[in-house]
Amino acid sequence: MEPVHIIQGTAVPLDRSDVDTDQIIPSDWLKRVERTGFEKGLFSEWKDNKDFILNDEAYSAASILIAGPNFGTGSSREHAVWAIQQAGFKAVISPRFGPIFKNNSTKNGLVPVEVESDVGERLLAEVQKQPNIEFVIDVEKAIVEIAEIDLQFSFPLEQSIRERFLKGLDDIEITLASETSISQFEQTRLAWLPTQIT
């Protein structure tokens, strides 16, 4: 993955709770065997409604998605993260994320910014009022700054994830450095555990 340090840009307010991954990318899109080409699938069922916020010109340049609580619950489809990224978003802000979605985000360099509920509500309201306010998300400090409304807050980001973001590290590479430990562990495997003869 590409390193991520600072994300600077405007945001779009998706004022809904429980936006599950079936909404983010409906299952028809999951038939693709490639890793690209998912941007058109992003919220494809909601996008048919011309009033849907992502169709609003005022937010067309947004690179940050703000949503209500329980964003990305449901299916494990990483396609949801790919679709959001390929549509130009670099971070998602929500008071609570579906855990698999959040994990998938961190593997792809999409920054999940978890906020207190009241902060989440305030951000949605502010961005609904003024589409152009600029957010600065500093991954190293795990801080969001919005100068125009004089707001600064920190968000939780585990040290190990922060490091992967900043350096653009590949998990598999990191793990393979511990190959000896994996082999040693395999020596202790219980004799009756299932194995397929291939």
Binding site: D20, D22, K31, E78, H79, R96, I174, T198
Partner: protein, 465 residues
């Protein structure tokens, strides 16, 4: 201080633990299917890596497969390509694969347990959120994304940060007519779709102990619906009995040693859970969802709630939107709502016991006029067993369609779909907007309620027929 069951399994699988880094856990069993694996295999190839343990990996095709005419090629081109890609990938990397029509083929979470692949104390992963199903055996089983599928293929391990622990205790005894599905829906009603985020949930208490393995799988299956990393149940005699003699279970030579190990898998009496939820089992009536997330649930004798009565603003707005999408009015008794389709299947409720439950309700009765009904066994093994028991004849005689195994109408990736505004009673696990087909309206229920609803033409319990 003692350890909880999930902590014991976790600790038994630590390959490496370092300050400030997630633990590196060994994975005992990796299940794969056509939807979340193609990009992972591509990654393996592009980086010149190989699959470390093809012998610990099992593959099946389930999401895309049609449930009729399976001896013909898949008509949908993109579905066909995805399935063929899996066949090629498993062949290239030497992974056992069960294709459509193979007696062992079926929904990934149904075939694992029934082939005896899931043992107590194991770590099991799959690129699918309902991997939590396997926790019914007292294993640590969780869904992963495609990047992690690639990670497991390449290393047979995963980097995982520690989770909180959560106890969900269901005491007492279920009323006659309530089932495992109602238990887990009631849990969802109590704690909501975010109630388990950040934790591994252990189900305990007399109601859970009295469930069969099929019922325990139904309960654990839906732990992801409240956001838990995994759900699990301590193994006991019921677990051991289920496993004994199955294809991949420990052979007689190892049986005693295995059981000795398994008997150590329980939460120590002095262990402390980070979160605790307790429900009284005798309060759990048959449940039905009314909205567009599985936490929006009421008892089947209830009325559609009024959004104004929700204190939380986000919940209130979600309720308003859900009623609009579902085409429902607050205050309507749910038993007055007619359905168009009844679907009995999915990794939540497609096992032999579910089919027996449904067949018992419909035997000697006819499906109501104009209702589409599908029964989709979870696997080839279940289909065969059901046919040996004559269940298929009961379904067909009542007017149900008897299908070939697969995910079917659970997720709208294959030909079995709802039409816009079509209303279903479904034994699956998700009632999200469009989950069963664009614009479709899904109500989650148990197999008994689904069967009774097919007969009555509106939401009903067998007792009301």
């Amino acid at each position: 201080m003692g350890k909880t069951l999930s902590q014991k399994i976790w600790d038994n699988h630590i390959v490496q633990s370092r300050e400030g880094e997630p633990d590196l856990l060994y994975i005992d069993l990796h299940l794969i299917h056509e939807v979340t694996s193609p990009q992972a295999f591509d990654g393996i190839r592009m980086s010149g890596r190989s699959v470390r343990r093809p012998d610990l990996t099992i593959s099946t095709e389930d999401h895309n497969v049609p449930t009729i005419n399976i001896h013909e090629p898949i008509a949908d081109e993109t579905s066909l390509k995805q399935v063929e890609t899996l066949r090629t990938n498993t062949k290239e990397f030497g992974i056992t694969h069960y294709p459509m029509g193979h007696p062992n083929q079926g929904i990934v979470h149904v075939i694992g347990p029934e082939l005896g692949l899931t043992h107590p104390g194991m770590t099991v992963v799959c690129g699918d959120s309902h991997t939590s199903t396997h926790g019914a055996f007292g294993s640590l089983a969780f869904g992963i994304g495609t990047s992690e599928v690639e990670h497991v293929l390449a290393t047979q391990t995963l980097q995982q940060p520690r989770q909180e622990t959560m106890a969900i205790t269901v005491n007492g005894e279920l009323p006659q007519g309530s089932s495992a599905k109602d238990v887990v829906l009631a849990v969802l009603g109590a704690i909501g779709t975010g109630g388990g985020i950040g934790a591994i949930a252990e189900f305990r208490g007399s109601v859970i102990e009295n469930l069969t393995m099929e019922g325990r799988m139904t309960v654990c299956n839906m732990s992801i619906e409240f956001g838990a990393k995994a759900g699990l149940i301590a193994p006991d005699e019921t677990t051991f009995e289920y496993l004994r003699g199955r294809e991949n279970a420990p052979s007689e030579e190892f049986w005693e040693a295995a059981v000795n190990e398994w008997e150590k898998l329980y939460t120590d009496p002095d262990a402390i859970f980070d979160r605790e939820v307790t429900l009284n089992g005798s309060d759990i009536l048959p449940q039905i969802t009314w909205g567009t997330n599985p936490g929006q649930v009421i008892p089947v004798n209830g009325v559609i709630p009024n959004p104004a009565n929700f204190d939380d603003p986000a919940e209130r707005e979600a309720a308003v939107r859900a009623l609009e999408y579902m085409g429902l009015q607050a205050g309507t008794p749910i038993s007055d709502v007619p359905v168009d389709t009844v679907f009995i299947g999915s990794c939540t409720n497609s096992r032999i016991e579910d089919l027996r439950d449904a067949a018992e309700v419909i035997q000697g009765r006819r499906v109501a006029e104009g209702i589409r009904t599908l029964v989709v066994p979870g696997s080839g093994v279940i289909k065969k067993q059901a046919e040996e028991e004559g269940l298929d004849e009961i379904f067909k005689a009542s007017g149900f369609d008897w299908r070939e195994p697969g995910c079917s109408m659970c997720l709208a990736m294959n030909p079995d779909k709802l039409d816009p505004r079509e209303r279903s009673a479904s034994t699956s696990n998700r009632n999200f907007e469009g989950r069963q087909g664009r614009g479709g309206r899904t109500h989650l229920v148990s197999p008994r309620v689904a069967a009774a609803t097919a007969i009555a033409g509106r939401f009903s319990t067998p007792e009301d027929l």
